[in-house]
Protein backbone atom coordinates (compact mmCIF):
# COMPACT_ATOMS: atom_id res chain seq x y z
CA UNK A 1 0.00 0.00 0.00
CA UNK A 2 2.97 2.32 -0.53
CA UNK A 3 1.62 4.26 -3.47
CA UNK A 4 -2.05 4.03 -2.75
CA UNK A 5 -3.33 6.67 -5.12
CA UNK A 6 -6.79 6.48 -6.53
CA UNK A 7 -7.05 6.41 -10.29
CA UNK A 8 -10.31 7.56 -11.78
CA UNK A 9 -11.01 8.26 -15.45
CA UNK A 10 -7.30 8.56 -16.24
CA UNK A 11 -6.46 10.93 -13.39
CA UNK A 12 -4.74 10.18 -10.09
CA UNK A 13 -6.03 11.42 -6.76
CA UNK A 14 -4.64 11.24 -3.24
CA UNK A 15 -8.03 11.31 -1.60
CA UNK A 16 -10.58 8.55 -2.00
CA UNK A 17 -13.33 10.75 -0.64
CA UNK A 18 -15.61 12.63 -3.03
CA UNK A 19 -17.88 15.18 -1.42
CA UNK A 20 -21.08 16.92 -2.41
CA UNK A 21 -21.80 20.64 -2.11
CA UNK A 22 -25.54 20.52 -1.32
CA UNK A 23 -27.36 21.36 1.92
CA UNK A 24 -24.72 23.62 3.49
CA UNK A 25 -25.75 26.81 5.30
CA UNK A 26 -23.68 28.97 2.94
CA UNK A 27 -20.80 28.83 0.49
CA UNK A 28 -18.20 29.67 3.13
CA UNK A 29 -19.24 26.61 5.13
CA UNK A 30 -19.28 24.52 1.94
CA UNK A 31 -15.72 25.48 1.21
CA UNK A 32 -14.48 25.01 4.77
CA UNK A 33 -15.98 21.52 4.92
CA UNK A 34 -14.51 20.56 1.55
CA UNK A 35 -11.08 21.78 2.63
CA UNK A 36 -11.32 19.79 5.85
CA UNK A 37 -12.48 16.65 4.03
CA UNK A 38 -9.36 16.58 1.89
CA UNK A 39 -11.52 15.71 -1.11
CA UNK A 40 -10.19 16.55 -4.56
CA UNK A 41 -13.40 15.85 -6.42
CA UNK A 42 -16.62 17.67 -5.57
CA UNK A 43 -20.08 17.15 -6.98
CA UNK A 44 -22.34 19.99 -8.09
CA UNK A 45 -25.83 20.22 -9.56
CA UNK A 46 -26.87 21.94 -12.80
CA UNK A 47 -29.73 24.43 -12.39
CA UNK A 48 -31.19 27.51 -14.05
CA UNK A 49 -29.31 30.70 -13.23
CA UNK A 50 -31.00 33.19 -10.96
CA UNK A 51 -32.26 35.78 -13.44
CA UNK A 52 -33.79 38.09 -10.85
CA UNK A 53 -30.60 38.39 -8.80
CA UNK A 54 -27.63 37.80 -11.08
CA UNK A 55 -25.26 39.39 -8.58
CA UNK A 56 -25.91 36.59 -6.15
CA UNK A 57 -22.76 34.70 -5.28
CA UNK A 58 -21.93 31.64 -7.30
CA UNK A 59 -20.74 28.30 -5.90
CA UNK A 60 -17.70 28.39 -8.20
CA UNK A 61 -16.61 31.69 -6.60
CA UNK A 62 -15.82 29.51 -3.58
CA UNK A 63 -14.90 26.20 -5.19
CA UNK A 64 -12.18 26.97 -7.72
CA UNK A 65 -12.39 24.50 -10.63
CA UNK A 66 -8.61 24.81 -11.00
CA UNK A 67 -8.15 23.43 -7.51
CA UNK A 68 -10.96 20.87 -7.39
CA UNK A 69 -12.20 18.45 -10.02
CA UNK A 70 -15.83 19.49 -10.50
CA UNK A 71 -18.20 16.58 -10.95
CA UNK A 72 -21.59 17.75 -12.23
CA UNK A 73 -24.52 15.49 -11.40
CA UNK A 74 -27.87 14.86 -13.05
CA UNK A 75 -29.78 14.92 -9.77
CA UNK A 76 -33.48 15.44 -10.26
CA UNK A 77 -33.52 13.81 -13.70
CA UNK A 78 -36.17 11.13 -14.18
CA UNK A 79 -35.67 10.47 -17.88
CA UNK A 80 -32.78 9.50 -20.16
CA UNK A 81 -33.36 12.66 -22.18
CA UNK A 82 -33.14 15.01 -19.19
CA UNK A 83 -30.03 13.31 -17.84
CA UNK A 84 -28.21 13.43 -21.19
CA UNK A 85 -29.30 17.04 -21.75
CA UNK A 86 -28.04 18.02 -18.29
CA UNK A 87 -24.64 16.40 -18.90
CA UNK A 88 -24.25 18.20 -22.21
CA UNK A 89 -25.07 21.53 -20.60
CA UNK A 90 -22.62 20.83 -17.79
CA UNK A 91 -19.85 20.07 -20.27
CA UNK A 92 -20.66 23.24 -22.17
CA UNK A 93 -20.39 25.22 -18.94
CA UNK A 94 -16.74 24.29 -19.04
CA UNK A 95 -15.77 21.88 -16.28
CA UNK A 96 -14.81 18.91 -18.41
CA UNK A 97 -16.41 15.63 -19.36
CA UNK A 98 -16.57 13.79 -16.03
CA UNK A 99 -20.21 13.42 -14.96
CA UNK A 100 -22.16 11.75 -12.20
CA UNK A 101 -25.11 10.13 -13.90
CA UNK A 102 -28.31 9.72 -11.92
CA UNK A 103 -31.59 8.76 -13.50
CA UNK A 104 -34.05 8.57 -10.64
CA UNK A 105 -36.88 6.06 -10.77
CA UNK A 106 -38.89 6.87 -7.68
CA UNK A 107 -39.41 10.06 -5.71
CA UNK A 108 -39.76 8.46 -2.30
CA UNK A 109 -36.65 6.29 -2.35
CA UNK A 110 -34.63 8.17 -5.00
CA UNK A 111 -33.56 4.74 -6.19
CA UNK A 112 -32.18 4.76 -9.71
CA UNK A 113 -34.17 3.70 -12.76
CA UNK A 114 -31.75 0.94 -13.79
CA UNK A 115 -32.76 0.45 -17.47
CA UNK A 116 -32.85 4.24 -17.99
CA UNK A 117 -29.44 4.62 -16.32
CA UNK A 118 -27.98 1.97 -18.65
CA UNK A 119 -29.45 3.69 -21.70
CA UNK A 120 -28.25 7.14 -20.66
CA UNK A 121 -24.79 5.73 -19.88
CA UNK A 122 -24.60 4.22 -23.38
CA UNK A 123 -25.43 7.57 -25.01
CA UNK A 124 -23.05 9.55 -22.80
CA UNK A 125 -20.10 7.17 -23.22
CA UNK A 126 -20.57 7.32 -26.99
CA UNK A 127 -20.67 11.10 -26.72
CA UNK A 128 -17.23 11.14 -25.05
CA UNK A 129 -18.25 11.58 -21.43
CA UNK A 130 -16.48 9.89 -18.54
CA UNK A 131 -19.50 8.51 -16.78
CA UNK A 132 -19.80 7.75 -13.07
CA UNK A 133 -23.24 6.21 -12.65
CA UNK A 134 -25.19 6.16 -9.39
CA UNK A 135 -26.80 2.73 -9.28
CA UNK A 136 -28.49 0.25 -6.98
CA UNK A 137 -26.25 -2.28 -5.24
CA UNK A 138 -27.09 -4.73 -8.01
CA UNK A 139 -24.04 -6.70 -9.20
CA UNK A 140 -25.51 -7.34 -12.67
CA UNK A 141 -26.35 -3.67 -13.24
CA UNK A 142 -22.79 -2.81 -12.20
CA UNK A 143 -21.37 -5.37 -14.65
CA UNK A 144 -23.46 -3.92 -17.48
CA UNK A 145 -22.40 -0.36 -16.71
CA UNK A 146 -18.75 -1.38 -16.76
CA UNK A 147 -19.28 -3.18 -20.10
CA UNK A 148 -20.85 -0.03 -21.54
CA UNK A 149 -17.63 1.80 -20.70
CA UNK A 150 -18.41 3.73 -17.53
CA UNK A 151 -15.31 5.03 -15.75
CA UNK A 152 -16.54 3.61 -12.42
CA UNK A 153 -19.70 2.28 -10.83
CA UNK A 154 -21.29 3.98 -7.86
CA UNK A 155 -23.62 1.63 -6.01
CA UNK A 156 -25.67 3.09 -3.21
CA UNK A 157 -25.17 1.87 0.36
CA UNK A 158 -28.63 3.06 1.40
CA UNK A 159 -31.11 5.66 0.06
CA UNK A 160 -29.73 9.14 -0.62
CA UNK A 161 -29.69 11.24 2.54
CA UNK A 162 -30.98 8.36 4.69
CA UNK A 163 -27.82 7.92 6.77
CA UNK A 164 -28.64 4.23 7.08
CA UNK A 165 -25.11 3.05 6.40
CA UNK A 166 -24.07 -0.06 4.50
CA UNK A 167 -27.35 -1.97 4.25
CA UNK A 168 -26.07 -4.77 2.06
CA UNK A 169 -22.35 -5.37 2.51
CA UNK A 170 -22.73 -8.76 0.82
CA UNK A 171 -23.90 -7.29 -2.47
CA UNK A 172 -21.10 -4.73 -2.28
CA UNK A 173 -18.61 -7.57 -1.78
CA UNK A 174 -19.90 -9.32 -4.91
CA UNK A 175 -19.76 -6.07 -6.88
CA UNK A 176 -16.18 -5.55 -5.68
CA UNK A 177 -15.13 -9.08 -6.58
CA UNK A 178 -16.51 -8.77 -10.08
CA UNK A 179 -15.55 -5.16 -10.73
CA UNK A 180 -13.25 -4.23 -13.57
CA UNK A 181 -13.70 -0.52 -12.87
CA UNK A 182 -13.41 1.43 -9.60
CA UNK A 183 -16.30 0.98 -7.18
CA UNK A 184 -17.36 4.13 -5.38
CA UNK A 185 -20.07 3.86 -2.75
CA UNK A 186 -22.48 6.72 -3.34
CA UNK A 187 -25.25 7.55 -0.89
CA UNK A 188 -26.38 6.25 2.46
CA UNK A 189 -23.36 6.85 4.67
CA UNK A 190 -24.47 8.30 8.03
CA UNK A 191 -21.34 8.59 10.10
CA UNK A 192 -17.62 7.86 10.14
CA UNK A 193 -17.94 4.15 10.98
CA UNK A 194 -20.08 3.66 7.84
CA UNK A 195 -17.34 5.27 5.76
CA UNK A 196 -14.68 3.09 7.35
CA UNK A 197 -16.83 -0.01 6.78
CA UNK A 198 -17.20 0.76 3.08
CA UNK A 199 -13.47 1.24 2.70
CA UNK A 200 -12.68 -1.90 4.71
CA UNK A 201 -14.82 -3.87 2.26
CA UNK A 202 -12.39 -2.74 -0.42
CA UNK A 203 -14.33 0.05 -2.10
CA UNK A 204 -12.12 2.32 -4.17
CA UNK A 205 -13.84 5.48 -3.06
CA UNK A 206 -16.76 7.04 -1.30
CA UNK A 207 -19.12 9.87 -2.20
CA UNK A 208 -20.65 11.70 0.74
CA UNK A 209 -22.84 14.78 0.95
CA UNK A 210 -25.67 14.73 3.52
CA UNK A 211 -23.72 13.01 6.29
CA UNK A 212 -21.26 15.91 6.29
CA UNK A 213 -23.43 18.85 5.27
CA UNK A 214 -26.32 18.03 7.60
CA UNK A 215 -24.20 17.09 10.61
CA UNK A 216 -24.43 19.48 13.58
CA UNK A 217 -20.84 20.46 12.92
CA UNK A 218 -20.16 19.86 9.23
CA UNK A 219 -16.50 20.88 9.45
CA UNK A 220 -15.78 18.39 12.22
CA UNK A 221 -17.72 15.67 10.38
CA UNK A 222 -15.75 16.41 7.20
CA UNK A 223 -12.58 15.70 9.15
CA UNK A 224 -14.08 12.57 10.68
CA UNK A 225 -14.97 11.29 7.22
CA UNK A 226 -11.50 12.03 5.88
CA UNK A 227 -9.92 10.07 8.74
CA UNK A 228 -12.46 7.24 8.46
CA UNK A 229 -11.84 6.83 4.74
CA UNK A 230 -8.08 6.78 5.36
CA UNK A 231 -8.40 4.37 8.29
CA UNK A 232 -10.76 2.07 6.40
CA UNK A 233 -8.49 2.00 3.39
CA UNK A 234 -5.43 1.27 5.53
CA UNK A 235 -7.25 -1.52 7.36
CA UNK A 236 -8.33 -3.02 4.04
CA UNK A 237 -4.74 -3.02 2.83
CA UNK A 238 -3.42 -4.29 6.14
CA UNK A 239 -5.70 -7.34 6.02
CA UNK A 240 -7.99 -7.88 8.96
CA UNK A 241 -7.84 -10.96 11.19
CA UNK A 242 -10.29 -13.75 10.77
CA UNK A 243 -13.43 -13.58 12.88
CA UNK A 244 -13.62 -16.48 15.33
CA UNK A 245 -16.27 -17.44 17.82
CA UNK A 246 -13.86 -18.31 20.66
CA UNK A 247 -10.94 -16.52 22.26
CA UNK A 248 -7.30 -16.77 21.27
CA UNK A 249 -4.97 -15.50 24.02
CA UNK A 250 -2.72 -12.57 23.20
CA UNK A 251 -0.28 -13.20 26.09
CA UNK A 252 2.10 -16.18 26.31
CA UNK A 253 0.59 -19.30 27.82
CA UNK A 254 3.96 -20.35 29.32
CA UNK A 255 5.99 -18.75 32.10
CA UNK A 256 3.04 -18.05 34.37
CA UNK A 257 3.82 -17.78 38.08
CA UNK A 258 2.60 -20.68 40.14
Amino acid sequence: MKDDTFELAGKRYKSRLIVGTGKYRDFAETRAAIEESGAEIVTVAVRRVNITDPNKENLLDYIDPKKWQILPNTAGCYTVEDAVRTCRLAREAGVGDLVKLEVIGDQATLFPDVPATLEAARILVKDGFKVLPYITDDPVACLRLAEIGCAAVMPLAAPIGSGMGIRNPFNLRIILEQAKVPVIVDAGVGTASDAAEAMELGCDGLLINSAIASAKDPIAMARAMRLAVEAGRLAYGAGRIEQKLYATASSPLSGLIR
Binding site: V44, A45, V46, V49, I51, V95, N209
Partner: protein, 70 residues
Protein backbone atom coordinates in the same frame (compact mmCIF):
# COMPACT_ATOMS: atom_id res chain seq x y z
CA UNK B 1 -37.72 48.58 -36.80
CA UNK B 2 -36.84 48.68 -33.10
CA UNK B 3 -36.12 45.35 -31.47
CA UNK B 4 -38.77 44.53 -28.91
CA UNK B 5 -40.14 41.03 -28.43
CA UNK B 6 -40.78 38.32 -25.90
CA UNK B 7 -38.86 35.15 -25.27
CA UNK B 8 -39.15 32.56 -22.54
CA UNK B 9 -36.06 32.70 -20.35
CA UNK B 10 -35.66 29.94 -17.76
CA UNK B 11 -39.38 29.29 -17.85
CA UNK B 12 -40.46 32.93 -17.44
CA UNK B 13 -41.54 35.51 -20.03
CA UNK B 14 -38.71 37.92 -20.77
CA UNK B 15 -38.62 41.05 -22.90
CA UNK B 16 -35.77 41.49 -25.37
CA UNK B 17 -35.31 45.06 -26.50
CA UNK B 18 -32.61 47.00 -28.25
CA UNK B 19 -30.21 44.09 -28.75
CA UNK B 20 -31.30 40.72 -30.12
CA UNK B 21 -27.89 39.09 -29.91
CA UNK B 22 -27.49 36.27 -27.42
CA UNK B 23 -24.33 37.89 -26.08
CA UNK B 24 -26.41 41.02 -25.37
CA UNK B 25 -28.76 38.97 -23.20
CA UNK B 26 -25.91 37.28 -21.31
CA UNK B 27 -24.01 40.50 -20.73
CA UNK B 28 -27.20 42.28 -19.73
CA UNK B 29 -27.72 39.65 -17.05
CA UNK B 30 -24.10 40.15 -15.88
CA UNK B 31 -23.45 36.43 -16.08
CA UNK B 32 -19.89 35.14 -15.85
CA UNK B 33 -19.01 33.73 -19.22
CA UNK B 34 -17.05 30.74 -18.00
CA UNK B 35 -19.73 29.56 -15.59
CA UNK B 36 -22.89 29.15 -17.64
CA UNK B 37 -24.27 27.13 -20.53
CA UNK B 38 -27.02 28.20 -22.89
CA UNK B 39 -29.69 26.34 -24.80
CA UNK B 40 -32.02 27.91 -27.35
CA UNK B 41 -35.03 25.77 -28.24
CA UNK B 42 -33.25 22.76 -26.73
CA UNK B 43 -30.09 23.22 -28.81
CA UNK B 44 -26.89 24.05 -26.96
CA UNK B 45 -25.25 27.24 -28.20
CA UNK B 46 -21.46 26.97 -27.79
CA UNK B 47 -19.74 30.00 -26.27
CA UNK B 48 -17.97 30.72 -29.55
CA UNK B 49 -21.35 31.37 -31.16
CA UNK B 50 -22.83 33.65 -28.51
CA UNK B 51 -21.83 36.77 -30.45
CA UNK B 52 -23.22 35.60 -33.77
CA UNK B 53 -26.49 34.03 -32.64
CA UNK B 54 -29.54 36.27 -32.45
CA UNK B 55 -32.72 35.65 -30.53
CA UNK B 56 -36.11 35.44 -32.22
CA UNK B 57 -39.59 36.09 -30.84
CA UNK B 58 -40.86 33.09 -28.88
CA UNK B 59 -37.46 31.49 -28.42
CA UNK B 60 -37.21 29.22 -25.41
CA UNK B 61 -33.91 29.99 -23.73
CA UNK B 62 -32.35 28.12 -20.85
CA UNK B 63 -29.28 29.42 -19.06
CA UNK B 64 -27.83 27.13 -16.41
CA UNK B 65 -24.99 27.22 -13.94
CA UNK B 66 -23.67 25.07 -11.12
CA UNK B 67 -25.23 25.04 -7.69
CA UNK B 68 -24.64 22.99 -4.57
CA UNK B 69 -25.59 19.36 -4.96
CA UNK B 70 -24.60 15.78 -4.23
Amino acid sequence: MPIDFQITLNGEPYAVNGDARLIGLIEGLKLKRGRVAVEINREIVPKAQWSSVTLAPGDIVEIVNFVGGG
